[in-house]
């Protein structure tokens, strides 16, 4: 196997992995603060893919622009979901939270199926097949753009949690809920904000994802699993961990596709998951669980 081919595959795996990482970051943020696992995360991502697709078809908006309205839409969706349905479930047993979100996931994915049908939809951009040439390396332009946006969005999120009052308040609620309530933080609103932010991550990731692959409703459960695997590998609740996990999974998928068979690519991710659960259950960058 020529080295340049491997290098190409590795590079494109890393770039795709950054988009995965952004999606998983949303899941990680929600879990880190609200302590609820969003089992509808992949469904939200695919919802965003379809929203991007509709904006492209109706208004001709480039996904790289429409990701802003899509992110806002998903933020509103996540906020409303947490404020109406999930807030009463924060103290309920884990399996009840799971069932609630599995129900939400079923509704989203099947509404998409009813509206758009099972066939794959894609946006045909003028630059879809262009690539950058770096010596022996050929990288798809869309992949580079998608990864760059993913990095920028992640950086913005880091800045939000470190530098703003609301971000600090959310971290306070995550660290010590009772303490946060005592000093007068409205944690229900903070939880809704957090869920909105997590959903917005899925939203941006979805807008980017449609640059890399066609949208079908069937992708949704796969994305949920993928996001879940990434945050467990990286460390549930750790923001850099989500990004690292995304890159690792993107890389392992790309290499498995090259060395074994493209249809077997998620096998390696599952193997990685089991390995991490057994050897380091808190994830690569996670604190103690």
């Amino acid at each position: 196997m020529p080295a340049s081919l491997v290098a190409n595959v590795v590079l494109s795996g890393v770039l795709t992995g950054l988009v995965y990482g952004l999606m998983a970051l949303g899941l990680s943020v929600i879990f880190g603060v609200v302590r609820v696992v969003n089992f509808a995360h992949g469904e939200m991502t695919v919802l965003a893919m379809y929203a991007t697709f509709v904006l492209f078809k109706a208004l001709g908006l480039d996904p790289l622009f429409s990701l802003v309205p899509v992110a806002l839409l998903l933020f509103a969706f996540g906020y409303a979901l947490q404020a109406s349905l999930i807030n009463p479930f924060v103290k309920r047993p884990e399996h009840e939270q799971f069932i609630l979100l599995a129900g939400v996931a079923l509704v989203i994915v099947n509404l998409l199926l009813m509206v758009f049908g099972p066939d794959a939809q894609h946006v045909d951009l003028a630059y879809a097949y262009d690539s950058f040439e770096l010596g022996p390396l050929l990288v798809d332009k869309v992949r580079v753009y998608a990864a760059a946006v993913a990095i920028a969005a992640t950086a913005a999120l880091f800045a939000f949690f470190r530098r703003t009052r609301t971000g600090t308040a959310i971290r306070a609620a995550a660290d010590n809920l009772v303490g946060a309530a005592v000093v007068g933080l409205d944690f229900k609103r903070l939880f809704a904000l957090t869920f909105g932010i997590g959903a917005a991550c899925a939203g941006i990731a979805g807008s980017l994802m449609i640059l890399l692959s066609d949208a079908t409703p069937a992708l949704a459960p796969d994305f949920t699993l993928l996001a879940f695997i990434i945050v467990i590998v990286g460390g549930l609740g750790s923001m850099p961990g989500a990004l690292l996990g995304g890159v690792l999974i993107g890389l392992s998928e790309a290499l498995a596709g090259l060395m074994i068979a493209p249809s077997m690519k998620s096998m390696l991710s599952f193997a990685l998951l089991v390995l991490v659960l057994v050897v380091r259950p808190q994830g690569l960058l996670g604190g103690k669980r």
Binding site: V37, L85, P88, F89, R92, E94, H95, E96, F98, I99, L100, A102, G103, V104, A105, L106, V107, V109, N110, L111, L112, L113, M114, P118, P217, P221, L225, F228, I229, I232, A261, S263, M264, S266, M267, F270, L273, V274, L277, V278, P281
Partner: protein
């Protein structure tokens, strides 16, 4: 065994159950083939729900990967029949053994390395997904193109090979559902059943009483996986075709958990009540949309999703405990979950 179940139910409920049993036994003589096929779906869901309930309802172990055990039971018996002519009545045993072994592996990983709650649920999904992708690539089992069991002449009843008319499948699944109900009733009243309830409610307290948590949990997984594999064998020979994309899918696993959750987690009647509500609801929707001239493939699942949300929000214990309370079945029952 009978006493265990009878003791759990007050008199009016017992009469009702007896009447229901008589009706179910007489059903093939009273209803058409279509209705009978719906009843098979209902009883199949009730049986699987009962099997899943042993893990989640009794022992508090959330499995979202039960499709794995269905698939293993289905593929093992089907492959032995198709390739070696081994009758499914024998082939179901290796199927059960394989599913139990897979359950033991998942359980061992989960309990040995203290992977609990949603992490454990994810582990179960991961194994089912690995099987789905793996079986797609096993040519000997038909790969993603599917495995087909030759269909014999309908009229000939061949119980050993599980080939026969729809009535045979009906009585088989009725017997399985009844047996699963009895087994669950017996389990709940056994020492093991009390261990499960104890560790489900308070792990630390259970441990301090000297209960071997690992053993009790593994037992729940083994029993549940074995029961589920049997349903897989039934599924394979009833439908005569198997596709990894379908039988091992997350959707199939979700289907399994619906009935017990809607009916009532951890209760004996819950999976049955849930199955009798869900399957007719689906058929009703189907005929309703057909009458309106609509083709909405996702509608039933949207309703299922909404149902899950509403039930878990308003009645997290499920419909059966609520019904029981509402209609006074609970009046003479003595505490224990039934």
């Amino acid at each position: 065994m009978r006493r265990a179940l009878a003791a759990s139910l007050p008199r009016p409920a017992l009469y009702l159950a007896a009447a229901a049993l008589v009706l179910l036994l007489a059903a093939p003589f009273m209803v058409d083939r279509y209705t009978l096929s719906i009843l098979i779906l209902i009883l199949y869901a009730a049986y699987l729900g009962q099997a899943w309930n042993v893990m989640m309802g009794f022992a508090g172990l959330l499995s979202i990967g039960h499709a794995l055990y269905v698939g293993l039971g289905a593929y093992t018996a089907a492959a032995l029949f198709v390739h070696f002519g081994i009758p499914p009545l024998l082939g179901l045993f290796p199927g059960i053994a394989l599913a139990a072994a897979a359950g033991a592996l998942i359980g061992w990983l989960g309990f040995r390395f203290r992977i609990a709650g949603v992490y454990f649920a994810l582990l179960t999904i991961a194994f089912a997904e690995v099987a789905r992708i793996g079986f797609d690539h096993i040519d000997w089992l038909g790969g993603s193109g599917g495995l087909f069991i030759p269909v014999a002449a309908e009229k000939r009843l061949d119980l050993l090979d599980l080939r026969g008319g729809i009535e045979m499948y009906y009585y088989l699944i009725l017997a399985l559902a009844a047996a699963a109900l009895l087994l669950s009733a017996v389990l709940l009243r056994s020492r093991l059943g009390y261990y499960w309830l104890a560790l489900r409610e308070d792990e630390e307290a259970a441990r301090s009483l000297g209960i071997n948590l690992f053993r009790a949990r593994i037992a729940a997984v083994l029993i549940s996986a074995a029961m589920t594999a049997l349903a897989g064998t039934f599924n394979a020979f009833y439908n005569s075709n198997l596709f990894p994309e379908h039988i091992f899918s997350i959707g199939s696993s979700i289907d399994i958990i619906l009935a017990p959750i809607v009916g009532g987690l951890g209760t004996l009647m819950g999976p049955i009540v849930g199955a009798f509500i869900l399957a007719p609801l689906g058929e009703l929707l189907l005929s309703l949309t057909a009458a309106l001239g609509l083709d909405l493939p996702g509608l039933e699942l949207v309703i299922h999703g909404l149902l899950l949300v509403v039930i878990i929000r308003a009645l997290p214990g499920g419909l059966w405990p609520w019904l029981k309370h509402r209609f006074g079945f609970a009046a003479s029952a003595s505490g224990g979950p039934s």
